[in-house]
Subunit: 466 residues, 2 copies
């Protein structure tokens, strides 16, 4: 791991530690291994260990911990599963990590209203397991089996967003502990509301910097009558992206439409022992009635054929579909397996779909002139794609080259009307990009942060720098 | 009009007036008729005239006006079409009304990306007229031909929300003038983003209390290949509502599903010279492929038959559909026509759909024991319904009775997990309800307001009371 510049760390007094111990007993840890594990996420970012880890079991406990921290001016860093990608869990200024992974209760399911309330530590897979006999499911799927609190905090999305939206569209309400320990409930269970400021959407995507999310109310969906998948390789990447654009423009309600480039397809073949063509490839999923999914697949198949699609393979059997999506889901690990011992630096721009082909082609041209290995996957129905730089973070020249290419790609995306992050969030890895993207609205974000957290104790150093 | 309690009004100095005149010339008016017209909306709320009306033509002009107001500590009240229903445009503390209805430019349309940027004064009908040859449309339809700035500011929705969402889901970005005159751009053109705090959603629904919206970037949709409508009367209201619930639970992607009760159907018949059954009635619209809309209509027809639907009439011809929806659109005016010279007090609760039948039936039971006339219409796919109290605001006993019934209905909706306003907003008519609904999150809304508007000059007295 490369060292990061030393930052001022709050001293954690014996008194503060004693107060937290009194609250949590054994569920407060200062063991080095526990602190280290809580100071790193799934990306290349260096470990930034907190001074202590508090394993909270309820909203009230989170509130009590936050109150102790507020009194002692200690930073608070929420932790779900540690699967963030922009250093969201790093304790840049030390302090107390609040691990909510023990808050695993599904508090309420309403099959009639298609909604559910969960504690923040419930993961998306746990929720779907819980829902198994109800005929309902929660669609948002960022790949990792992340906690729903963490997914809310980073405004996560993933493969299903083109049809079902992101966490922004699917969180109905939240319970949040504010910087002074107050507990508030935002939103509600009505499907729409015009009642005051949209605090729910303010906390969704705030990455723990405005408060700690402890409970989440989510929309659910009926499992479709029919689900089918398809895979289609293309002669070139523009043909694949043009198929995506035309599909979206035609209003075909695809549930998933994912691009993997030829490098990623090679990685997937090796990792999952498959034999797909090593060419730019689209993976599709269709949800609807039996007649509906067939109609969707036929429409998309026709568009693919016009754009250089080589062989549109339609899979309706559950095993076929699962094999296909398992291969897609393992893309990140398949990429890392290309170089044993490496780590991944996943990029995350999102552009208006009319610019997607240009953005991808120019980015790959840049990459072709570099020595870095970087497979590409994309949630292309939303205009969002990722490169994964497969790197050794101990080699400064690789880090510098990845940074140079990433800077160029983000500038390219912003020039095309896009965003520096479609779904991974800002953390501390993208603050400069956010400042560039938001213009003078960045200062307003800082003012908002100060209003909610005047002492800058809630996940300090993330999203905005004060 | 009933008089409202006198409020402290900022004195508008000659100096402030002179500065605004210098900026706007003839486009600053202090004429009594102009001020009166800008102090009232479409509801029963009393006129609250501003001291002056500024007809702005650009974001920069709005900013310049706001700066003058900030310097002289004058309230600022934005005005679009004056079609709000909770007193949103009333100048409770005097000051300057900024009328953006002259900001009517469609700044940019991207047919490839399905988005558009408009000035705040463009109305939804004007936008759809502009889009006529593109094959695209903007679906959000609150009934009135409101401005898109105003629709954003109140988080409007209406008949299409069950399929296309509300303004919350369809505003991609905004240009906003803040209380100190700064101009910021929020959001962007990417279909999703995790880049920092969601300022866009914070301003959507803020009703002019955090800033003045001057430009709006919106999602557009392809006009569906096929559109069909249907109408079906039911033996009782529970059967109608159960049909709605089952339709939503089955995931049938209806574009519109509207309930009119027997009183409203009578009003519609008289107003539009029609001969529908005077029974609880559902109006449907289906969007999709030809096969898709037929499949949807058949599924809904089967559900209606199981729930006491009497005669499911399917209309595919454009003239038939237009006649049907014109009747629905005129429901408010049809209600008022039941009593010439009356005004409407439209209510607006929204509950989880499993509670919708109970909420409606209990509300109608209350109403049956009152002398007030109040037809019912509902965007029932979202759990949202409106009574329109047809009243004479000069009769205090009617106002008191409407208030008593409305208080009971809002309490009922809140007890069922609902909201005091599905789409009309808070204005100053619903602040007490919002405080009750939001609990201690209401105080947080106040803190947010103070952070954005420390002098309480932006549409003061609305949403939150400081």
């Amino acid at each position: 791991m490369t060292a990061v510049a030393a930052r001022p760390r709050a001293a954690m007094s014996e008194q503060a530690l004693a107060e937290l111990k009194a609250l949590l007993g054994d569920r407060l840890s200062t063991a080095a291994a526990v602190r280290e594990q809580h100071g790193k996420d799934e990306s290349y970012h260096a470990v930034e260990a907190p001074d202590a880890v508090a394993f909270a079991l309820s909203t009230e406990e989170v509130s009590a911990v936050v109150k102790v921290c507020a009194r002692h001016k200690l930073p608070v860093v929420p932790f779900g599963t540690g699967t963030s990608l922009e250093g969201g869990v790093g304790a840049l200024a030390g302090g107390v990590c609040i691990d909510v992974s023990g808050m695993k209760e599904v508090l309420r399911v309403s099959t009639d209203d298609l909604d559910v309330t969960v504690q923040a530590g419930v993961t998306r897979k746990q929720l779907n397991e819980h829902l198994r006999d109800t005929g309902l499911f929660f669609p948002i799927d960022p790949g990792a089996d992340a906690s729903l609190g963490g997914m809310s905090a980073t405004r996560a999305s993933g493969t299903n967003a083109v049809r079902y939206g992101t966490m922004r569209e699917n969180v109905l309400g939240l319970t949040v502990v504010l910087a002074d320990g107050r507990i508030i409930r935002t939103g509600g269970r009505a499907r729409k509301s015009a009642a005051g400021y949209d605090l729910t959407r303010l906390f969704v995507g705030s990455e723990g910097t405005l408060g700690v999310i402890t409970e989440v109310t989510l929309r659910l969906y009926g499992i479709p009558e029919a689900i089918s998948s398809a895979v289609c390789a293309f002669t070139d990447i523009r043909g694949a992206v043009d198929t995506v654009i035309q599909t979206i423009q035609a209003g075909i309600p695809v549930a998933r439409i994912e691009l993997l480039d030829e490098v990623q397809m090679g990685a997937v073949n090796r990792y999952s022992k498959l034999s797909y063509a090593e060419a730019p490839t689209l993976f599709f999923e269709f949800h609807g009635t039996s007649a509906g999914v067939q109609e969707q697949a036929e429409m998309v198949s026709a568009l693919a054929a016009e754009n250089g699609g080589m062989d549109f393979q339609w899979a309706t059997r559950a095993e076929e579909r699962n094999a296909l999506w398992t291969a897609r889901h393992n893309a990140y690990y398949a990429a890392l397996a290309l170089r044993p011992g490496s780590r991944g630096w996943p990029t995350d721009v999102c552009v208006p779909i009319s610019r997607l082909a240009d953005c991808i082609i120019e980015t790959k041209r840049d990459l072709a002139q570099s020595t870095l290995l970087a497979p590409l996957v994309g949630h292309v129905g939303d205009g969002n794609f990722h490169l994964v730089y497969v790197i050794d973070p101990d080699r400064p020249e690789e880090m510098a080259e990845a940074k140079r290419l990433n800077d160029r790609m983000v500038d390219r995306a912003l020039a095309m009307g896009g965003t520096c992050t479609g779904e991974h969030g800002v953390g501390y890895g993208k603050i400069e990009f956010l400042a560039k993207e938001a213009g003078n609205a960045y200062a307003v974000m800082g003012e908002l942060k100060r209003a909610f957290d005047p002492d800058n104790l809630m996940n300090p150093g993330k999203v905005v720098r004060l």
